[in-house]
């Protein structure tokens, strides 16, 4: 599949690029407002080979959608969400996004880079997160260092304040359900230890071209700004994920709606009233005849989560996303 074709895809974002010079916001992608502009001032989407980048309502840190990035090992290429903003040579950058990984053992790479492209040279990568063997790493002073053990199906909020002139950043990472940051680093050298390294783009990919990753991950609420004073999107309220019954309820009531849809709608209502056992019964009944099983399985996994049945939650999600167990 050619990259030109890939550029035509994607219903994504809300970007606020250079036309608002007084705004501290360089980039803001919520993935919820249906704007579809790809291009040199916003972003490119590469859906090469069997990998994919697409909007998804399976998981979201806020709103009702996020972007799913799915790589396939051995398919000869890798998918990518690549975004652009006006080149910054000095001042501060505030970087924020939310990240959820299905299988942390699969490789992903996320980078903020400049005109030197995605390498560790000056004006190349300044901020680089990656995964290795289930850990989240950042590369600082050309050394990949472990930050934390990633949990599957868990939202992480990434906040970095980057001093471009000094080439150093502060990094905080929040985990869904935990109020205090699980990572808090101050004044660490940028990826290649290059003070003054300029930045103008960011990228979300699987592996770096080695074609060995089967990662599936979700990104939401991407913000790049010049001032911490801006109102960053609230990270998922600590301790509470957004549930599919809230974000994607069954279609509105219609006289001839299929039985499965009616049952799902009743299940949603029971879920909202936190009658979880009734919600589960209705969802399971709906599942027997529904043609849209994915949403029902995810809703059942939300029910299992709220009932504290994490084994069932995992099993239900694995019906859609595959097993996390060692292969």
């Amino acid at each position: 599949m050619g990259s030109a074709a890939a550029l035509l895809l994607l219903p994504l974002l809300a970007a606020l690029p250079a036309e608002a010079p007084t705004s501290p916001i360089l980039v803001s992608y919520s993935f919820d407002d249906g704007k579809t502009d790809t291009g040199p001032d916003t972003f490119s989407v590469f859906r090469n080979a069997r990998g994919n980048v697409q909007l998804s309502n399976a998981f979201r840190a806020s709103g009702y959608q996020s972007v799913e990035i799915r790589d396939v090992a051995g398919d000869g290429d890798f998918p990518e969400l690549q975004g652009y903003f006006p080149e910054r040579r000095d001042g501060w950058l505030v970087i924020h996004f939310s990240l959820l990984v299905i299988d942390p053992k699969e490789e992903l790479n996320i980078a903020l880079a400049g005109p030197g492209w995605f390498n560790l040279n000056e004006n190349g990568i300044s901020f680089w997160l990656s995964t290795r063997d289930g850990d989240l790493l950042h590369t600082t002073d050309s050394i990949p260092k472990r930050l934390l053990r990633l949990k599957p199906f868990t939202w992480y909020g990434i906040d970095a304040d980057y001093d471009i002139v000094r080439g150093r950043y502060n990094l905080r990472i929040f985990e869904e359900g935990i109020e205090k940051p699980v990572v808090s680093l101050k004044d660490v050298p940028n990826a290649g230890s290059h003070p003054g390294s300029t930045v103008s783009m960011f990228s979300f990919i699987g592996d770096k071209g080695e074609d060995r990753s089967n990662v599936v991950y979700y990104v939401d609420d991407v913000v790049v700004a010049t001032n911490r004073a801006i109102a960053l999107p609230p990270f998922v309220a600590p301790g509470r994920r957004r549930f599919l019954a809230d974000a994607q309820p069954a279609s509105p009531e219609r006289p001839k709606a299929p039985v499965a849809v009616r049952l799902e709608r009743q299940g949603d209502q029971a879920f909202r009233e936190r009658d979880l056992r009734e919600a589960r019964r209705l969802y399971e009944e709906s599942l027997k005849t529904s043609e849209e099983k994915s949403a029902l399985l995810l809703k059942l996994s939300d029910v299992a989560f709220l009932l504290g049945d994490l084994a069932s939650e995992k099993a239900l999600r694995e019906k859609i996303f595959g097993s996390l167990d060692p292969r």
Partner: protein, 214 residues
């Protein structure tokens, strides 16, 4: 660092994959024919099982045949200890074409530390500057099966080479380190010795921190 996308690279890998697409024939005969035609794309379609026949052809072949097969192993990048073993037999050959082809191919078929050690020795001690330079290239670009931990061996060797008496060795060592890390830490191969020593001390501290992070 891998091949993070650049506009000039778009599609090249796919085009290479699409280049050869003949139907499979009897493996041994077919592999010999594909080797004779330098057809890496078609060999890739057969997959690593073709390596055994390629190794047999390598052992039976003359210098030109060995060079051709080493170049094919380089392109295919199949991890194969058996291929590494036979290639290592020619790692010190004085035939320039075969020597360089073997140096390049070794890292792409193996993660054996002996390969890294051999290339480091060639880079630092071979009397021929061309072989030294190509060994540095192989260490820099072709060690595709090494983990971050296994790369410590390369970094340590390159930092050791910064102290070489031979300016060209110092130059290719810092060039390789720069490609790996994006940094020189102020090292210049013809700077005064005390200045070089300061940079080497920085590189040693960096290596210690790198090891700690593993």
């Amino acid at each position: 660092m891998g091949r993070w996308r650049h506009p000039r690279l778009f599609g090249m890998f796919l085009l290479a994959l699409l280049a050869g697409s003949a139907a499979l024939a009897a493996p041994a005969v077919r592999v010999a024919g594909l080797v004779a035609r330098d057809d890496a794309a078609a060999l890739r379609e057969i997959g690593p099982p073709a390596a055994a026949e390629m190794i047999r052809l390598y052992l039976a072949g003359d210098t030109a045949q060995r060079t051709r097969i080493a170049n094919l192993f380089y392109q295919l990048a199949w991890k194969s200890p058996e291929a590494a073993n036979v290639l290592m037999r020619d790692v010190h050959t004085q035939d320039p074409g075969l020597r360089i082809a073997v140096q390049y191919a070794l890292g792409r078929v193996s993660d054996n530390p002996k390969v890294v050690d051999s290339l480091l020795q060639t880079m630092m001690r071979d009397p021929n500057p061309v072989f030294r330079d190509k060994a540095a290239c192989a260490l820099t670009y072709d060690q595709v099966h090494l983990s971050e931990a296994e790369k410590v061996r390369i970094y340590a060797g390159l930092i050791q080479a910064l102290a070489s008496e031979e300016p060209q060795v110092r130059a290719i060592a810092i060039q390789s380190l720069h490609i790996y890390t994006g940094q020189t830490k102020g090292f210049h191969p013809i700077a005064p010795p005390e200045k070089r020593q300061q940079s080497i001390a920085q590189w040693k501290r960096w290596l210690a921190e790198y090891k700690e992070s593993l």
